[in-house]
């Protein structure tokens, strides 16, 4: 455990003072928790909008992980990737919400269980 902490007790290039003690470990934990929260939300909730928001949560968790690694490796690839992802996510959000609206119009309900037509 110590080895792990030692290895990660590095904010290469330096963090701002108040966050000086924040390490990659913390970022990854945040990202992981965010992802799990999103996942749990997606699985448990039936409202399409909420489910959609949960997917956004998981999205951002991945983004955080990317940025953290990018910072850790002093490599801008991850960060630039996230910029693109965010752009696409915005477009996708517009699309997804439009779809949700259409689905709602068809069944007057936002319950995801209403849509089970692909049943085998």
């Amino acid at each position: 455990m110590n080895v792990l902490l030692d290895g990660l007790t590095l904010a290469q290039g330096g963090f701002p003072e108040p966050m000086a003690s924040a390490t990659l470990y913390h970022y990854l934990m945040t990202s992981g928790m965010l992802f799990v929260i999103g996942l749990i939300g997606f699985v448990t909730r039936r409202n399409l909008i909420i489910m959609f928001l949960c997917t956004e949560l998981m999205f951002q968790a991945a983004g955080i992980a990317l940025i953290a690694f990018s910072r850790f490796h002093l490599n801008h690839t991850g960060e630039s990737f996230v910029v693109f992802v965010l752009t696409i996510a915005a477009a996708e959000a517009a699309l997804a919400l439009a779809l949700v609206v259409l689905l709602f119009r068809r069944k007057e309900s936002l319950d995801a269980a209403e849509w089970a037509e692909m049943r085998g």
Partner: protein, 778 residues
């Protein structure tokens, strides 16, 4: 297969230069023969080419082929008039003219010459090398014309022309349907195939024609294809012929295997060497394979020419339109078997068994068919059985070493039997399909039927063999005489003599019942057409209410039925044939006295490969008389007795169409059996068809249960899997998400587990090393 062909072709190219010399030497192509001819040597070799013919000889087969194509175009363009008939008559008449021309050339300066006219290379393989077994397989599309070919082609094309003309009127009821053009397509194709069969210069082209005529026969028997009995008859004819064809094809293959060629011009000189052995009484020295070839040919001939045991298809073939019966199933196609035997007569002489098989098969068929013919009531069927019987005579004639008699009988029979059929057809045409001799009487006395009756009479006296004035008498007499002259075959002579008496009886039975006696008739109510034709009966004017309009007559207009007499085309054809039947008499008998063989048919046979001298045998002299004289006296007696018996039983005192004195003769079981064709069809059904059908059911069950079961088993495994797997597809989004999450968890846990060192390292965090390996940048 393709590879082999390519290889052969390559070899051919490579060997071409080497072979240039060989071909003109030992293997002897046409060039070689021409050289031989020019040098004046080898001219007498059996079957060798001794002359040449102009290229227009090719018109004989190819004009009918052109007619076939043109009629096919008519069918496609939906021509609904008599154009196909005009085309066919014109083309076949052209072929006849070309045949006459070829005949003139062939018989130039008195003795027959042999020529090969080549159309194109058809099959040509040459392989091996000059030093190591050079082999070739050559079958050109070329035509071998000698006097035997001419004899056959003269009556084939001549009769085909007349019968096509007859059919133009007979089939008139179908003009408005597609059937008319279809009929003439098959008709022309038949003449083309027959020409290939008779004129082909190699066995392969003969085989092509042989199959071609079989096909056309099938198509034309099944002309009324909506009538189940016609379809069954067509199928029966085709299948029976296939059995025979198997024999022919095996003979063909053995010929190539043994002689290395299938071309007549090369084959017959090779046969000559064996023939010399046979003629010197050394038949034991001839290899088995050579002796087997003619036996196999005989199987083919017996199938095509309807002899025991393959004769049963011919009577059923009468389901076809009558012109077809007359041309194909009486005059021409069924004589193809006789042609084959006559053409390969030298080869038959090389075999100990082939000619006795031919002779006995023919004689027994003649007798059997005649006995069946006596008991039938359908006049067309009687004629069919008489055809089978007369074909038996021809085979018996050749079998007892009388190729001349056999060929002459083919020639005369073609005319009078075609005439008999066409007369029966005219009756059938005029009486709305009526063929039952119990329902027709006194036709000769009805106005407009004089020519038909005359033709029928001429045909009957020929078939019955009325002495001296009929061609049929002379040709049949020759066969019976040859049978008596052949020492070992006297029994066949007696069989044939008896059959001649039966023939005279059943022939005149038909004539006296249908054409003589009180005028009484009943229209046929049998529809001899398919539904199309029945529709056309609606607008049938009475002049053309033929057999196909029979339904109308049968039902609505039954009481008011009056037969319509045949028109110009039918009468003209019948008249020509009646004259021809007499005109051929001097062609088949030598009236210069002495019973010599110096008449036309004899010279035609002797000028060909059939003209070889059989091994000398002691002439049998029945009752101390010359065999031919005895046969003549015998056949005069039996012929007249047969006619007189028919006269008393079926003419004298007959007051109605349905009854005659013959009814009072009760023969019990024999009569019934003869009426049922000796139950041969039933026996074949029980012996061959039923076991095969049972076997088919067994195989079907095996296929259903074992083969299909196995296949289905392979199908059921994935189906079961799918059935299980489909339950996971609920269509609910959450289920999929949960499973994805579950899968992710499993993957993550697995990786963690593996990196923590398996079971032993369980408990420690596995990602430690991963993190450390990630490395710390300085």
């Amino acid at each position: 297969m393709v590879g082999l062909v390519e290889q052969l072709q390559t070899l051919q190219v490579v060997a071409a230069g080497v072979f240039a010399q060989v071909e003109h030497g030992a293997l002897g192509t046409h060039g070689g023969h021409e050289a031989a001819l020019n040098a004046g040597v080898n001219a007498a070799a059996l079957g060798a080419v001794t002359g040449e013919l102009p290229k227009w000889t090719l018109l004989i087969p190819f004009l009918p082929l052109l007619g076939c194509v043109l009629c096919g175009v008519c069918a496609i363009l939906k021509v609904r008039n008599k154009l196909p008939a005009v085309i066919t008559v014109a083309c076949i008449a052209g072929a006849f003219a070309a045949t006459v021309g070829a005949y003139m050339h062939t018989m130039h300066d008195g003795h027959a010459q042999t020529a090969v006219v080549k159309a194109w290379d058809w099959i040509r393989f040459v392989w091996g090398t000059e030093y190591k077994s050079p082999r070739e397989f050559i079958a050109n599309f070329s035509f071998y014309v000698d006097s035997l070919t001419c004899l056959w082609m003269l009556f084939v094309t001549g009769l085909a022309t007349l019968i096509a003309l007859y059919a133009s009127e007979y089939m008139a009821g179908d003009v408005k349907t597609a059937g008319y053009a279809r009929f003439y397509v098959a008709f022309c194709l038949f003449v083309f195939s027959m020409a290939c069969l008779v004129m082909g210069d190699n066995l392969l082209l003969l085989y092509l024609g042989w199959e071609g005529v079989g096909l056309c026969s099938y198509l034309l028997i099944g002309y009324f294809y909506k009538k189940p009995s016609a379809v069954a008859a067509a199928k029966k004819a085709f299948i029976m012929n296939r059995i025979g064809d198997l024999g022919l094809s095996m003979g063909l293959m053995l010929t190539y295997v043994h002689f290395g060629t299938v071309e007549y011009a090369k084959l017959f000189p090779l046969i000559q060497t064996y023939l010399d052995l046979a003629q010197h009484g050394k038949i034991d020295e001839i290899p088995f394979i050579v002796q087997a070839i003619p036996v196999l040919f005989t199987i083919g001939a017996f199938g095509k020419s309807a002899q025991i045991p393959l004769y049963v298809w011919l009577p059923d073939a009468m389901e076809g339109p009558t012109p077809v019966s007359a041309l194909i199933h009486a005059a021409t196609m069924v004589t193809a078997g006789v042609y084959l035997v006559a053409r390969f007569f030298p080869l038959y002489l090389c075999s100990e068994w082939a000619l006795p098989i031919v002779a006995w098969g023919g004689a027994l068929t003649a007798l059997l068919a005649a006995t069946i013919g006596m008991a039938q009531f359908d006049i067309k069927r009687i004629m069919a059985y008489s055809t089978v019987s007369q074909l038996g005579f021809m085979f018996a004639g050749i079998g007892v070493l009388g190729a001349v008699g056999g060929a002459a009988h083919v020639f005369t029979h073609a005319f009078f039997k075609a005439m008999l059929f066409l007369s029966c057809g005219a009756v059938m045409h005029g009486f709305a399909g009526q063929l039952d001799l119990r329902k027709l009487s006194g036709v000769a006395k009805i106005k407009g039927w004089k020519i038909v009756s005359l033709a029928m009479f001429v045909g009957c006296i020929n078939l019955a063999g009325v002495p001296f004035i009929t061609a049929g008498f002379w040709s049949k007499d020759m066969i019976i005489g040859d049978a008596f002259a052949d020492h070992g075959m006297v029994a066949i002579g007696w069989i044939l003599l008896g059959t001649a008496g039966l023939t005279a009886y059943y022939t005149f039975r038909v004539f006296f019942r249908v054409f003589m006696g009180p005028v009484q008739y009943e229209a046929g109510d049998e529809v001899h057409g398919d539904a199309d034709h029945a529709n056309h009966a609606n607008h049938a004017n009475h002049g053309h209410s033929d057999a196909h309009g029979a339904q109308e007559h049968g039902s609505a207009a039954h009481a008011a039925f009056h037969p319509h007499a045949p028109g110009l085309a039918i009468n003209a054809v019948l008249l020509i044939l009646a004259v021809a039947a007499f005109a051929v008499i001097p062609l088949v008998h030598d009236f210069s006295g002495g019973g010599g063989h110096s008449f036309w048919a004899s010279s035609m046979v002797h000028g060909s490969t059939a003209g070889v001298e059989p091994p000398h045998a002691e002439h049998y002299k029945p009752f101390g008389m010359d065999a031919h004289r005895f046969a003549m006296i015998g056949s005069i007696i039996v012929g007249l007795v047969g006619i007189v018996v028919a006269f008393f039983l079926h003419y004298v005192g007959r007051t109605s169409s349905a009854t005659s004195k013959a009814d009072s003769i009760k023969l019990g079981a024999i009569q019934t059996a003869a009426q049922h064709k000796w139950y041969v069809d039933e026996a074949y059904h029980a012996i061959f068809v039923l076991p095969l059908r049972v076997l088919a059911h067994v195989f079907h069950a095996f296929d259903k249960m074992v083969v299909d079961g196995l296949v289905n088993l392979f199908g059921m495994v994935p189906r079961g899997l799918g059935h299980t797997a489909r339950r996971t597809q609920t269509g609910v989004l959450h289920d999929y998400a949960l499973r994805m999450a579950g899968g992710l968890a499993v993957v993550v846990l697995a990786i963690w587990f593996l990196h923590s060192g398996g079971w032993s390292g369980w408990g420690g965090p596995g990602l430690v090393e991963v993190g450390s390996v990630g490395g710390v940048r300085p």
